[in-house]
Symmetry: C2
Subunit: 261 residues, 2 copies
């Protein structure tokens, strides 16, 4: 059936971040968004801009990145047909896991009300070769109780200025307050997973929080210092948490929207 | 302590087969054995030949490949020191998991008394991007009971000529008899794993056995035909099993030696 209107489509996308220069389109052309633009153009025979829920950095993985685009009027493809069509034009390290119709005002970035990231740490003495780039190798992680205690400091509404890297587009009015609903620790067979659930995340915030928690576990950062980095007094020069975990173990797991989306 | 004699060392090696042109040294230089030769030469400042338990093809993975080499007389390094030394000269997709002293007559290939391979199959509708090249994607695997029944035909001592690919170095006297101790099926969260344990395997035998079993499960190969391909009458032209599973899902899991090794 021919549609006379454009149809807003919501994609769930998984990718192995290792071969790509992050999410955001770039002149180099080797980002996830670039590959999606190429695939959409090949199918629709016209450029179709695609909007993601947010950027991920070079090497960062996604299990449930969300993006939207508008299928042009006259498209005969049903939403689920886009899954196989796009996958046949994408590298095997980027997969469309689902495609569904969304309300016309759905916006992958602005409709989002929360995100879940997880960070995998491998504590084996030798990093298994099949995990290279998929987990952070920390053979001496230190004390699990200290790791858990550091994570327990983090949930709540805080000024996370100390856990935000400089991106270059910051303004003086930028609000660094975010609500972290949970920072949970789970044991895996070869290490552990830290899961962060929040209403939004600043640039490199998950990697800076993970880096700080691991350094507390290793006895290299005092829990009091970690705590003092949250909610620093406004107007004073901000201290910055000095430990950023590598991209390797970071996964954008899920983007949350209101039930109406 | 300086050793006055060469010391035979046994390496346990894991690798992600995707970036490499198999195990066996080649002029192209991008095989696992080539990378090990480079690493050994960098450490020992002299070429040290290394012998593996057997070849693996392009794209085939290993969790417990075994190889031996002789550390030259005068080497001060203890066996376990070779683990970190070699790993620091190898790509992250090849890892030395262990190094131990072996008897002087230990031979990675000729001392082996058995091997365990497993083959991973992913049955998800869309292949997860982090599994690309690490499992065979078979979204329509068919009937698990038929798969199990096909695998149950295989163990025992058989002429596996029908399940051997042509390598080019075959002789008229070549013996195609092998003993398959087990062909077991295990359910995974996103598919299944077939584990083959035998005293030795012919060229592409695991992939041809897996291909046949999957085709039986899908109803594309009759179990009777599969059975007839085993133990064909000698002297007659041999039928060949026509289905070879891809390298993607194949792992050399373990090489077995007598307790004295």
């Amino acid at each position: 059936m021919l549609s006379h209107f454009t149809m807003r489509l919501k994609l769930t996308i998984a990718y192995d971040g290792r071969p790509f220069s992050g999410w955001q389109a770039q002149p180099c052309g080797n980002t996830v968004q670039d590959h999606l633009h190429v695939a959409l153009r090949e199918i629709a025979k016209a450029p179709l801009p695609i909007q993601g829920s947010g950027r991920t950095d070079t090497g960062v993985h996604a299990l449930g990145q969300i993006a939207h685009f508008d299928a042009p009027a006259g498209t005969v493809m049903k939403p689920f047909n886009w899954v196989a069509a796009l996958n046949s034009h994408l590298p095997a390290t980027i997969r469309i896991m689902a495609c569904e119709e969304a309300p016309p005002d759905f916006h992958a970035r602005f409709s989002a009300i929360g995100k879940i990231y997880h960070y995998d740490i491998c504590t084996e003495p030798v990093m298994p070769p099949h995990k290279a780039g998929l987990a952070w190798h920390v053979p001496r992680l230190g004390d699990a109780a200290r790791l858990r205690a550091a994570l327990n400091l983090m949930p709540g509404r805080h000024d996370f200025h100390a856990f935000a890297a400089y991106r270059g587009n910051e303004t003086a009015e930028m609000d660094y307050h975010r609500t972290l609903h949970a920072a949970d620790l789970e044991t895996l067979t070869d290490g552990c997973r830290i899961t962060f659930f929040g209403d939004g995340f600043l640039y490199k915030m998950v990697r800076l929080l993970t880096g700080a928690a691991v350094r507390v576990a290793q006895g290299k950062l005092d829990p009091g210092t970690c705590s003092a980095l949250l909610d620093q007094a406004p107007g004073l020069p901000h201290g910055k948490s000095p430990y950023c975990a590598p991209a390797d173990g970071l996964y954008l797991q899920q983007v949350l929207y209101p039930p109406s989306c």
